[in-house]
């Protein structure tokens, strides 16, 4: 299945890394190709994860012991271990067919609602990492920025008591400012002293978590009995209005996320700032020669990235959680990295990847509660998906696809 292009092209040789940015193939086909690659990567990741489920399952291992006596038992046991888990993964994230009979929209939309709840923050964190990545920076500080954003948003949320049309924007803004400050520290250090952002953002994660812990122990932040490390409860106006009625948790936060995707796309593709950031990301030396301030770009990129993570933190307070607690970030900061990579650093891609991750998380929770399969399996699926996406040559080998231009991560030669 390998030829049909030029006969000269040797099919099996991995093409040399494309140094300059690839001359774009016809846009339409390449988009479909990317989506196809993404789906194949998810499938491959699910297959590998299924193998892991089987390895950890006592019944499967018992059946494997007498495989040659009765091979059918092994497959039956494997199906029994994997089938229900993946079934609930689907039912918890997309739709549960059992709810159709009830005919109530609330029940049918339940799974989608949960998917949206998880997808919102993780998409924002993904946008954050993406905007930094496009500017040539690696923002591993999502966790700290989310935590600080949640803390500032929470503070405004329980201090002010206004009607929601006023309060919601204020809380969101507070979260974004908190995150922007935290991200800006890393950007400023990079610009002033050249300290590498991978190191500084990691350190700021730990410091941010400690700052939150400190806040959760001071009088003006902690909830009244002052015994538990938990903040005061936010006032009702802080919450995003619900999207599908009050019994489902999905809220208009997801619309805000979509809007922010558009804003980020606009900033990156249609403004001078975005042009500067992208130029710095592609070649800082050339950007400097062209008169752009590389340091200033780093500050801007990290401030924007921090603001987006701060919005993710605020979304936690405005959605599922009423109080700020220690683990308020819920792993969103690190998931954002994988979401950004899966979405190839483009806002639309990040949104799609965020929805996929939200679905996996929502489904994973349901899978854990229904079958006892630990939800951490979802992390494995996510990591494997990105790993496969990042190595298109691998996907091509597995699925015998034709070779085409390079893609994310590949040949992205960036050291320290």
């Amino acid at each position: 299945m390998s030829t049909s292009t030029t006969p000269a092209a040797a099919p099996e040789v991995a093409e040399p890394p494309v140094k300059s940015s690839t001359p774009a193939a016809p846009a339409g086909s390449s988009v479909w190709r990317e989506i196809l690659t993404g789906l194949l990567a998810v499938v491959l990741a699910l297959v590998v994860a299924a193998v892991i489920i089987c390895l950890a399952d006592p019944a499967v291992r018992a059946a494997a012991a007498y495989f040659f006596a009765s091979p059918g038992d092994l497959f039956a046991a494997a199906w029994h271990a994997v089938g229900p888990a993946y079934g609930w993964l689907f039912r918890g994230s997309i739709v549960d067919p059992a709810t159709f009979s009830s005919g109530s929209a609330t029940e049918i939309l339940g799974s989608i609602s949960e998917t949206l709840v998880y997808a919102g923050p993780v998409t924002l964190a993904g946008l954050s990492v993406a905007i930094a990545f496009r500017s040539g920076l690696f923002n591993i500080g999502g966790q700290g920025q989310v935590v600080i954003g949640a803390a500032t948003a929470g503070f405004v949320g329980f201090t002010l008591d206004l009607p929601w049309p006023i309060q919601v924007p204020l809380v969101l803004l507070a979260g974004m400012i908190g995150g922007a400050v935290w991200g800006g520290i890393a950007g400023g250090l990079k610009a002033r002293t050249g300290a590498h952002e991978v190191i500084t953002t990691i350190m700021l994660n730990y410091i941010g978590v400690n700052v939150l812990a400190l806040l959760l122990s001071v009088r003006w932040f902690q909830a009244p009995p002052f015994t538990d490390a938990i903040s005061r409860t936010v006032n009702p106006g802080t919450k995003y209005p619900r999207l599908f009625g009050s019994s489902l948790r999905a809220n208009i936060g997801i619309l805000v996320v979509v809007a922010l995707c558009v804003v980020v796309w606009y900033i990156l593709e249609r403004t001078t700032l975005g042009f500067r950031l992208r130029a710095i990301g592609i070649n800082p030396a050339a950007a400097r020669t062209a008169g752009m301030s590389v340091g200033g770009g780093a500050v801007w990129a990290m401030v924007l990235a921090g603001a987006l993570c701060g919005a993710a933190g605020a979304a936690q307070i405005m959605g599922p959680s009423d109080q700020v607690v220690g683990g308020i970030d819920n792993g969103v900061g690190f998931d954002g990295i994988t979401v950004a990579l899966l979405g190839r650093g483009k806002p639309a891609g990040v949104l799609a990847a965020g929805l996929l991750f939200g679905a996996l998380r929502a489904g994973g929770q349901r899978m854990a509660s229904q079958t006892g399969t630990p939800v951490d399996l979802v992390s494995v699926v996510q990591a494997l998906t990105v790993l496969f996406i990042a190595a298109p040559a691998l996907i091509r080998t597995v699925f015998r696809m034709r070779a085409e231009g390079s893609s994310l991560g590949q040949t992205a030669a960036k050291g320290w």
Partner: protein
Amino acid sequence: MTLELTPEETRVPVVEAPRPVRNLAIGTGSCAVLCLLLGLGAGDSGRSSLRLNSPGDYVSIPLITVPTTLTAIVLAVLVAAVTAYLVARRPAGRVRALCTWFAVVAVILAFLLWAASGDPNAQLDAVGLLQATIFLAVPIVLGAMAGTVSERSGIVNVAIEGQMLGAAFLAALVGTVAHSLVAGTIAGVVAGVLVGALLGTFAIRYQVNQVVLGVVINLLVLGLTTYLYSRLLQQDSAGLNQPGTVQPLTIPVLSRIPIIGPVLFEANLLVYLAVVVVVVLNLMLFRSRWGLRTRAVGEHPRAADTLGINVTRLRFRNSLLAGGIAGLAGAYVSIGSVGGFGINMTAGRGFIALAAVIFGRWTPLGAMGAAILFAFTSALNTALSFIGTPLSIPSQILGSLPYLVTLLVVAGVVGRSQSPAADGVPYSGR
């Protein structure tokens, strides 16, 4: 637009211009001010006591008690003198590094004096502090060695964390099942090598961005070990997760030397092994054929290739070696100190090791120094919670001290450090 970061082919050759001394001088200058402030802010007793002996020493050292403010001011003056010297003479290389370390140590001393000055009966147990430092330093030192080995040959190793975590898991599992801590340690090394192989394969064969790759591998290992832990180890803790702990090995005579003895010669085998790794690595990297080749491949792979070095193979092997060393660190984390595996038990120490590699400017000894500094600030955290400091510092602030110190040091002192030129740049050989 595809997301791409182009190879830094245009990297400007480093002309060794006189390195700006300003940032460093600001750093050491603030160290001097800090010493002064700590001295002036001394607690009520005005004295600080330092206990240096421990039971069983050959010589018992009397308790050292000094006036806090005076000593801190002397330290401040010394650091100020060093700062003045830096500004006036602009030294380079070793002298410069020495000045930096002097300022850092002086601040730590001043801080200790200050902390011990509150309660007249408080004695700072220096030996206990240093023991805790060694205990905490070992995994970070070993992780930093792993980072140094792979980065010197041009593979950015963000996956140290994953290599350590995977190793901690397998070491605990195999150690329990085989009833042998030696087998557990070996299994840990094997796990590290396997993760290193994953990193090497994707970085070299598929040329995936190595920072991306490291982050993803960490996530993968975290998910996998947590899943298997809840599925297997937690269900049957006695049969799968009780490997026991490597016992300390007291070296007969040396262990009774005051201060040094209890700190260095009452540790377990893995600690001694870590010291051997650092020394051997430092020798090998700068004095052996392998070391020369490794550095050549990390700086200019094409030149190395032209001279007949197999760049791909060397990089892959170093990736495996790095995995093995990180595996040792992981084994220490589970069976070397705690005696079992716990979810995410490396808790970011791989990332700290990565910071130590950069802080130590990609040399084994430098990275070890950085790792020990970090471990020391962590140990301080526990030590200070025992004696009442003059101002009560919330534990959360003390908890972020190690990270804050690393941040300040990376920003203020290290700054734009020069990595191996081809670090993170895939090599296609064409």
